[in-house]
């Protein structure tokens, strides 16, 4: 109890201490457990009086539950303080992975496609590669063109005229040798 806001007397306190000492009162009054949902509703003031009284009886007797309730109300007061950015970022990133689960779990064509997506991707890339190869080979004339002339080509095949004197003197002027 705060000294700033006193309530009760020393005798009151002594009486309370005396009541806490000694053997517990009758076991007959074992309190029924309170579900988290009821505690939550009580904290929000949404329980009818009878149900609220049950929760309050439990809170008065169960220090664990009272600590829970006090923690929750305290945390709600402190919630005005923003959470660290790294917590928000990490928590938001969780949905990226989880969002895929329902699609895989669901039935129908989309689920079937999702299951075989990787296979489709590989098949599509392989098909495109094959088309490029075949098209390029066809445009290049295929094997016929490359092997039609016996596979041997000499440089003399392309020289159709011998060099004349004027050509040789021109090359000499330019520093070349015949």
């Amino acid at each position: 109890m705060s000294e700033m806001d006193p309530i009760g007397t020393e005798k009151d306190r002594a009486l309370w201490a005396r009541l806490k000492a000694g053997a517990p009162a009758n076991d007959e009054a074992r309190l029924p457990p309170v579900a988290d949902e009821d505690l939550t509703a009580w904290l929000d003031g949404r329980l009818p009086p009878d149900a609220a009284a049950q929760v309050e009886a439990r809170l008065a007797a169960d220090s664990r539950m009272l600590t829970l309730a006090l923690d929750v109300t305290g945390a709600l007061r402190e919630a005005a303080t923003p959470a660290p950015d790294r917590l928000v970022t990490r928590a938001q990133a969780l949905a990226g992975f989880e969002a895929e689960r329902p699609a895989r779990a669901a039935g129908g064509l989309s689920a079937w496609f999702a299951r075989w997506r990787r296979g489709f991707e590989i098949a599509a890339v392989a098909g495109a590669f094959l088309v490029v190869c075949v098209t390029g080979f066809s445009l290049g004339g295929g094997f016929q063109e490359a092997y039609a002339n016996g596979n041997s080509v000499e440089i003399t095949d392309f020289v159709t005229a011998t060099l004349g004197d004027s050509d040789i003197s021109f090359m000499v002027e330019q520093g070349s040798q015949p």
Binding site: S2, D5, L15, L19, A25, E37, A75, T81, L87
Partner: protein
């Protein structure tokens, strides 16, 4: 700061990424505040609060948001429900962490007491005090709370707390023949 009012619950449960991001922005301050308290009560370093809070989000998100689906807007506000759930998850997280890291001898006594499920009965005949009166005395004398704090906790005004205390003490004195 994001508000729980902005959250479209059906869309969130349907798995919308944008709704999840909005939910995280609104829930993070509450969950982190709970984690800070639990971590402090267990004598764990304050830095751990972020990891504890992250674990709460993982549980909310897991198994197609199974835990989140248990929320009933008719029973409680989202903030209060989240705080209760977050506290349970946080205590569980630290319990598992402690089991994997420390022997029982190393556990601080205060942390062990925090987990105590023992129900303490007062030596008061049943029916002598109302539930509210017993709770007010418990908060004032055992938890050493201010009248204002008790009033805020019970969502009543301070005068009601004083009056409840007064009536409770009268009954106790009368029953045990104690003079004021």
């Amino acid at each position: 700061m994001a508000s729980f009012d902005d959250i479209d619950l059906p869309a969130l449960l349907a798995g919308g990424k944008r709704d999840w991001d909005r939910f995280v922005a609104a829930a993070a301050p509450v969950i982190h505040a709970v984690a800070r308290r639990v971590v402090a009560a267990h004598g764990v370093a304050a830095d751990e609060a972020v990891d504890v809070a992250q674990d709460v989000f993982v549980r909310l998100c897991a198994d197609d948001r199974r835990l989140l689906r248990t929320y009933d807007p008719a029973r409680a506000s989202m903030g209060t429900w989240l705080a209760v759930v977050a506290r349970s998850c946080a205590v569980d997280h630290l319990r598992r962490r402690r089991q994997s890291h420390a022997s029982l001898d190393e556990v601080p006594e205060s942390a062990a007491a925090f987990e105590d499920r023992h129900v303490e009965r007062l030596n008061i005949p049943a029916g002598l005090l109302t539930e509210r009166q017993a709770l007010v005395l418990r908060l004032l004398y055992d938890r050493e709370m201010d009248v204002a704090e008790v009033a805020a906790f019970l969502k009543v005004d301070a005068q009601t707390v004083r009056s409840t205390h007064h009536k409770a003490m009268l009954r106790l004195r009368e029953h045990f023949r104690v003079e004021a």
